[in-house]
Symmetry: C2
Subunit: 220 residues, 2 copies
DNA sequence: CTTGCAACTGACTCTTTGGTCAGTTATATC
DNA sequence: GATATAACTGACCAAAGAGTCAGTTGCAAG
């Protein structure tokens, strides 16, 4: 921990350079399954195929594992989300594409793993929520807001509040996942993300109200 | 603990009949603040103004406190929610009323306390989630679905999937609360529930798309 | 084969905390 | 005041689990 002399060439023999990642993978599974407090460091070690002592060669504490876990996952998320935004399209096309992509990704439990952990451990690790916010939400949300604002300017969308409208766009998808995750409430026969998105997009763009010819509705 | 003779009239002297509720109140605060595992029984006792031993006079274990806590809260929730549903109205009026009422209630952190606890402790206490589902969601959701189905039959609403549409109605509100709770993301100057609901209802009923005269959109 | 060292082990310590219980206090009744 | 007993206390115990470290193992270089 003290010297870093010239002879320390990085290609030196080493039985396992991949250990830290193996530990994080093991920890991820267990933190999802049991939560942070209920997971024993010994279990993480066992699952990673090493002893508890070895874990402490790579991480100074259990909390550090949690931190590293989220840090490792957090950066790629925003990047992969942002690549679908094209601000020069009809925003409805972009929203359609992005939601379909999101739904597809959410079919894989791995996608929701990190958010789930962050949600559950906010109180114990506020810095994780901050990190997630900074690295993911603060990057993605403004882009969506800009997309909406632009859509309004260009006459595609009615004049709505971009900030609040973000919630109307993604809220249903989040709730769909959350209800299934927490309460096991889902459509018969599966999550049917495609149907959810289709149903949601219809409402989102065209509204719930029956066409003009039907009984009217004036927003008070 | 063994006899129950005739002289045991229930009005007998007793210094505190309200103790169990006091313990639950204390536990609620602490479970929200710290989560179940991080909360010590001693802390619950202290906050309830008694000693740890006294807690065990009323509850056989720490887990039993958690269980009783949710059980106590869960029944009134559905009842108070259902009183606002009137199936013979224009469903848009009903939805508007209910969402405004919900938003008002959500301004009080107490309202979200139990759901937050249930959410955080699902893995450790699956029976809590089941209880919440049975006592709250399974009572409320079907009513909303019936409201939507009826609205479609009566020509107020377009033909959508009632089950999935529930998510489009309440998802945005849930996300609004969750984002504020977890990440501190909210509109400048406060939660502005009124504005959220207004913005959401506009979209929900009339859609995001600009009026017909503008550029068109055909749902593929 | 010998040597050197990074990688690793697992028994141990120390702290925390759920749960117990022998003893104390407060109150109602006579 | 005397007595019975419900209500309560807090010191104690035992289990669990985070973190430590003296010792062991296995690989690479000469």
């Amino acid at each position: 921990m003290t010297d870093d002399s010239s002879r320390r060439v990085p290609k030196f023999r080493r039985r396992a350079e991949a250990r830290p990642d193996e530990v994080l993978d093991a920890a991820l599974d267990l933190f999802i399954e049991l939560g942070f407090t209920q997971t024993r460091v010994d279990d993480i070690a066992k699952r990673a195929g090493i002893s508890k002592g070895a874990v402490y060669l790579y991480f100074p504490s259990k909390e550090a594992i949690m931190e590293a876990l989220v840090r490792r996952a957090v950066v790629p998320i925003a990047d992969s989300a942002l690549e679908f935004f094209d601000l020069d399209q009809d925003p409805r096309l972009v929203i359609t594409m992005v939601l379909k992509m999101a739904a597809h990704r959410l079919s894989d439990p791995k996608t929701t793993a990190i958010p789930r952990i962050v949600f559950r451990e906010v109180k114990a690790f506020p810095q994780l929520a901050q990190m997630y916010r900074r690295e993911v939400l603060d990057k993605v949300i403004p882009v969506v807001e800009r997309l909406i604002a632009r859509g309004i300017d260009q006459g595609y969308l009615r004049p709505v509040d971009p900030h609040l409208t973000v919630r109307s766009i993604v809220g249903p998808l989040v709730l769909h996942v959350a209800m299934a995750e927490i309460f096991g409430i889902m459509p018969e026969g599966g999550m049917h993300f495609d149907k959810l998105i289709e149903n949601h997009l219809t409402i989102l763009f065209d509204g719930l109200s029956a066409p003009p010819s039907a009984k009217q509705w004036s927003s008070s």
